[in-house]
Every structure is written in C-alpha cells, then in structure tokens.
C-alpha cells in the first residue's frame, strides 16, 4: 500500500473533520447545559413564568448551538468533498480548516450559554421585562458568536482558495499557523463576550430603567473584548495571503507556525480578562446609572491595559512573520 499525496490528503481531511466536530461539540454543550440549569432555577423561583422561561431557554440554546453547527458544516465539507491531491499543501489546508473551526467554536459556545441563562433568571425576577430581556439576550449572544464566525471564515477561505501553486515547504507551516491563530484566538473572546452579555441581562432585570445604557455599554464592552480575536484573524490572514519564498530549511517554517501559535494562545487570556472588566462595568451601570460616562471610560482604559499582553503577542507574531 503506497501512501501517495491523495491518500495523505484524504487522511488529513478525515482527521480534520474529526477535530472540527470533536472540539466544536465541547463549548455549545457546556453553554446549553448552563442555560438549562439556570432555567430550572428560574422556574422554581416563579413557576407562573414557566412558559416564557421555557421559550427563552430554547431560543438561547439554539443560538449557543450555532457555533457547533458551524463546526458540523466544516466537518461535513471535509468528509464529503473530494480534494484534489496535487500538492502536499492541501494536507495542511484541510487539517488547518478543521483545527480553526473546532477550536474556534469552544469559546462562543460556552459564552452564549451565559446570557441565555441570565435571561431566564431575569424573566423570573422581572416578568414585565421579558420582551426586552429576550432582545438583549439575542443581541448579546449574536455578538458572542462573532469569534466563531471569524474562525468559520478562516476555514471557508482555507477550503475554497487554491493554495496548490505555493511552495510546499514554508506554506504548510503558514497554513497550519493560520488555523491555530484564528482557532485559539476565538476561545477567550467568545468566553469573555458571554460574561459581558450575562451581566447585562441581569442588569436589565434589576434596573429596567437603564436598559438603553446597559445594552449600549454591553455592545461596547463585547466589541473591545473581541479585539484579540481580531488580531488572531489578522495574523491568520497575513499567513494565508502572503506568499513566502520556498525553502527547504525548517527554521522559516517553524517561525510561521510559531507566529500562529503565539497569536492564538496569547489571545485567550486578554479575551477573558477584558470580559471580566466589561462585565463588572455593565453591572455597575445597572446599579448606579448616573456614573455611566465615568464607568464606560474606566472600563475602556482598563480593557486597553489588560489587552496589552495580547498586543505583545501580536508584536511577536509579526516579528516572527516579517523579521525572523
């Protein structure tokens, strides 16, 4: 049995599909479990709202599941598409597509479970606000999905762009690095964005008069929380679209792989940390609305500082790509 390029591509596509769906199943399952747990608590608190809470739980879980559905789509494409095996680059491409989507679905899946659970609790606490809570939850969890969508975009670009004309040697590492950068990079931001949306749902139910500022600052906080996922996307775009000169040496290739890993893993911490910052800012605004302007400014400055480690990762990744 000879192992030609075609066989390797097939092997890698199957492995990539498994990775995509395997990792992709983690986040959404945890998130949906959290939602259901909170819904149970909410129904025990006010059984009369059981119908609304049940509806809210199902809608929230459906959104949390979308990250897993993205992973399912990528896994299906990897399993059922016949990839042409003309270059060993394709082996890396199909693997990276699976890695990017699988890892990228973890954070958003868990994250969007938080606001859905909080909305259920909120409905039991403040039944009159059910409608606004639902809207707030939908906006919050949709924004939470953005990092997973970035990972999906990277996977789609990898799968539907022709990389076979590139030299095999550094390109395989660049492609794998791109997958790691957007995959790992999405974890922290997805989780952090969920934390922000969760408190904003609590805030809406605690202080219905503050709905508008709470939703606005939630959006702002989530957007800034996603910054490191955007750096991950940026690095993976550079790795995908810059043509690297072919070389047989291992050093340039490992520098590109390291750039992807550096940006991806480095983005996890700031994403979660900025989520904590924005979460307490939103909470404080719901408690003391008069301080909204000061709280927003403090939140942004604090997030900028906690983001600095993400910027260090970005700098090192760019140095690895362009200088080393």
């Amino acid at each position: 049995m000879g192992l030609d390029v075609q066989t390797w591509v097939q092997v890698s596509a199957f492995a990539g599909g498994g990775i995509a769906m395997g990792f992709g199943a983690i986040g959404a399952a945890i998130g949906e479990g959290l939602t259901a747990a909170q819904a149970n608590a909410a129904i025990s608190r006010s059984p009369k709202m059981a119908g609304d809470i049940f509806k809210g739980m199902l809608v929230g879980q459906a959104i949390a599941e979308s990250a897993s559905i993205f992973a399912l789509v990528i896994a299906m494409i990897l399993l059922f598409t016949k990839f042409s095996g003309t270059s060993y680059v394709t082996v890396a491409v199909v693997m990276a597509a699976g890695l990017s989507m699988g890892l990228g679905a973890i954070g958003s899946g868990v994250g969007s479970g938080f606001p859905a659970g909080a909305a259920c609790i909120g409905m039991s606490r403040q039944p009159a606000m059910s409608g606004r809570l639902m809207t707030n939850m939908l906006i919050g969890s949709a924004v939470c999905q953005t990092p997973a969508i970035f990972a999906l975009v990277t996977s789609f670009i990898l799968l539907f762009t022709d990389f076979t004309a590139r030299p095999v040697s550094p390109t395989w590492a660049a492609i794998l690095g791109a997958g790691f950068a957007s995959g790992f990079g999405a974890i922290g931001s997805g989780l952090g964005g969920g934390l922000v949306a969760e408190t904003s749902c609590y805030g809406v139910s605690r202080q219905p008069l503050m709905v508008t500022p709470v939703t606005n600052v939630m959006l702002l906080g989530q957007a800034v929380t996603q910054t490191t996922a955007i750096y991950g996307l940026l690095v993976s775009f550079i790795l995908m679209f810059k043509t690297f000169p072919g070389s047989g040496a291992l050093a340039p290739a490992s520098a590109l792989l390291a750039a992807g890993l550096c940006m991806g893993i480095g983005a996890i911490g700031p994403g979660v940390g900025e989520g904590f910052t924005a979460r307490s800012a939103v909470d404080a605004i719901a408690r003391n609305g008069e301080a909204t302007a000061d709280l927003t400014r403090t939140m942004l400055v604090g997030q900028a500082v906690s983001e600095s480690t993400g910027i260090y990762s970005l700098v090192i990744a760019l140095v690895l790509i362009f200088v080393v």
């Binding site: 969508i149 539907f160 927003t296 910027i311």
Partner: protein, 224 residues
C-alpha cells in the same frame, strides 16, 4: 465559487508606480452617498411641526445620535462632533445594508473603507485631545505610568485603528463569504434569505453602531 476573494481593479501606472482602484468599492460608496444625500434632501424638503415619515426618521437619527454623543462628550462638543457621528453612523448603516440588494455589494466588505474611516477617527480623536489638553499634557500621557512604556503606549494607540477597522471588515466580509459559500453549497435554496437578514441587517446594524460608539469613545478618552 471563483467569486471568492475576487476584486475588480483598475491599475493606472503613474510616476513609475501602479495606482490601484477597486472599482466595485468606489461605485458602491458613491451609490451609498447618493442615497444618503437623496434621503437628506427628501427628509428636510417640507419641514413642519407635524413631521412626515421621512422627517421623523431623520429626526430620530439626529436626536438619538446627538444624545449618545452628549453622554460621552460635553454639551459644547456635541455641536462640533455630533454631525460627524450622525454622518458616520448613517453611512455605515446603509453601507452594511447594501449587500442584501442583489448585484450590489457592501463598500465595507473591502478593507480600504473601514481602514480609512478608522484612520479618520484616529486623527480626529488625537486632534481633539491636543486641542482640549494642550500638546504638553497630550504627550505626557504616553510616558505614563513609566517613561519606558512609551513604545508600548504608541503601539497600543495604533492597535486601536487596526482593531476598530478589522472588526467591521471581518464581520461584514465574513458574512458575505458565509452567504456566498452557503448559497453555493445549498444551490441557493431556503437558507440564503435568512443569512442575508442576519448578517446584512442584524450584524450590519450592530457593527455600524459599535464602530460609531467606539469612535465617540476614543474621542472622549483623548479629551478627558
């Protein structure tokens, strides 16, 4: 499927260099501007105390965005920056919605549009900062908390431009790629209208709002 990542470019050699124009983006941007101008003309044509539908929509935009600007900046600055913020939001909103009409594309799908708006916001914010605090206090903030933090502070400021423009670009371009690929996979049956509604209308509105709010907040961080 070949449409993925294809850009129609006009390349003009000038002074020994090639000037590249992305024709689609230029045409779409002018279309957006034309629609906005038409809206502005029609909304303010017959002004009355009992507003017509268009005037009501226009007033809604202006009052809401002026309110948001006032929350972040002082009352005096609203007169200076309010019109800018209004124009920015309306331009972005219409740009992001443009893709749901067949044969039209979002100008924000191309990195040039968000990046130029981000750079514009960056310069306006820093100009406002220098004007409000004076050059000395403005420069001093880069040397805090320690003087050797200066390079990182500068990189942090530049990273803001990258993040604000890539956030918009990534969302809008990502949405359009997803719509393209899913339409191709499902032979344009059932799913694409819902995807258009989600990525075009919903995500487009949120991202236009986020970009506008961040621009306001960047100005307010520099000013205070």
């Amino acid at each position: 499927m070949e449409e993925l990542g294809r850009v129609y470019q006009l390349i003009v050699p000038m002074f020994g260099r090639d000037m590249t124009f992305n024709l689609d983006v230029i045409v779409m941007t002018w279309l957006v501007i034309a629609v906005l101008l038409l809206f502005g003309y029609l909304a303010s044509r017959r002004r009355s105390r009992l507003p017509g539908p268009l005037q009501a929509v226009g007033e809604l935009f202006v009052s809401q965005l002026y309110g948001l600007t006032e929350d972040a900046l002082d009352e005096e600055m609203v007169k200076t920056y309010g019109p800018l913020i209004c124009a920015l939001f309306m331009f972005l909103l219409l740009s992001n919605w443009f893709g749901i009409i067949p044969h039209l594309g979002e100008p924000t799908k191309d990195l040039n549009t968000p990046l130029s708006l981000g750079i514009m916001g960056f310069f306006i914010a820093h100009y406002a900062g220098i004007k409000a605090k004076g050059l000395k206090a403005y420069l001093k903030q880069y040397f805090e908390p320690m003087f050797f933090m200066m390079p990182l502070n500068v990189i942090g400021e530049l990273a803001k431009v990258v993040s604000i423009s890539f956030r918009l670009f990534g969302n809008i371009m990502g949405g359009s790629i997803i719509i393209l690929v899913v339409s191709y996979l499902t032979y344009s049956v059932i799913l694409p209208p819902f995807l258009n509604a989600f990525f075009g209308l919903f995500v487009g509105t949120i991202q236009a709002f986020v970009f506008t709010m961040l621009t306001v907040v960047y100005i307010s961080v520099q000013v205070k």
